[in-house]
Amino acid sequence: MILRSCAHEKEVAALLASGAWPHAVASDLQAHAAACRTCADLVLVSKAFQAARARSTAAAPLHSPGTLWWRAQLRRRNAAVERVGKPLLGAQIFALVLNLLLVAGFLVAQARSGLSWLPWLQQLPQSALLYIQGFIASTDFTSASSLAVLIPALATLAILSGVLVYFASEKN
């Protein structure tokens, strides 16, 4: 299709947009629009669409802007909470990995020290009360190396249990 432009096209379009067509239009321009295919199409289509717009806007169902505002506010909040939650999840994963490393380090340290508490564990079923003092003596809490391992281990366990409780509550 060849694009045929008309010198009067812009003028006709402006008159149609302003609502001046056909009453406030010179007769020679009206005669031109009747003869020119491009302008005739423009007039026909513009008038049909303007009439359709008037009818459709009159039939448009309007909702409360307050409801829309409220919904948008909720959506923004949810998006913001989600944004805030992402780094928190990353921190949780980091803490979990760190704790696992600590546990692994603790186990390795215990394995190297020869698991001095194993004999106590084997004798435990016989009488926990009788051998508890033996356990305390075998672990030798007074030595600096055992304390250096025990305290982080307990802290790790405490943090791990906290993380587990948090994950469980998150799922709930």
Binding site: A52, R55, P61, G66, W69, A72, L74, A80
Partner: protein
Amino acid sequence: MSWEVAIPNGFAGETPYIAEMPMDTEIFAGFYSRSARPLWAYLARVSSDPALADDLMQESYLRFLCSSAPEQLLAEGEVAARRYLFRIATNLLRDHWRRPRASSIDELPEEFFAAPGTAAQADSQAVLGPALALMRPRDRQLLWLAHAEGYSHHEIAQITGLASASIRLLLFRARHKIAGLLRKQSTTQGRKP
């Protein structure tokens, strides 16, 4: 009662910085009352589905409000804000058409618009509805934006995302086609007893 009061206090109190909207409620209400009807008309006419138009109009306003720049747009002028709103609606329409569906929108009936009205309205409706239904969705968009909303080629390019240079040709073709359909339909109707 202001609208913010309707938000539960506990939730609102937790994160007050999140509740800040980049637009005033009264400004939005005014903008909505002036722009909602033309937007609905555009969506209803282009999609041929008033129910879909209703949904998409609400979604358009939600996205408009959730965007980071509505106040800035209104500061530029309501024309810019309205153009942005039409752009959101156009993208939503495009997303809707891209989704797999059981039936084409071209197959949807036009009797949604058969509300009682004046004789002139009924005549215009009877002619434009079927003609518009025979056009491609993109052509409907272009024709509506140009001839119903009065947007310039540059503005239509901004709304639709099409190249500004191609709008003129696309619009010329679409106008030529629908003008032929309108003439044909008016001739057919004139022959009917």
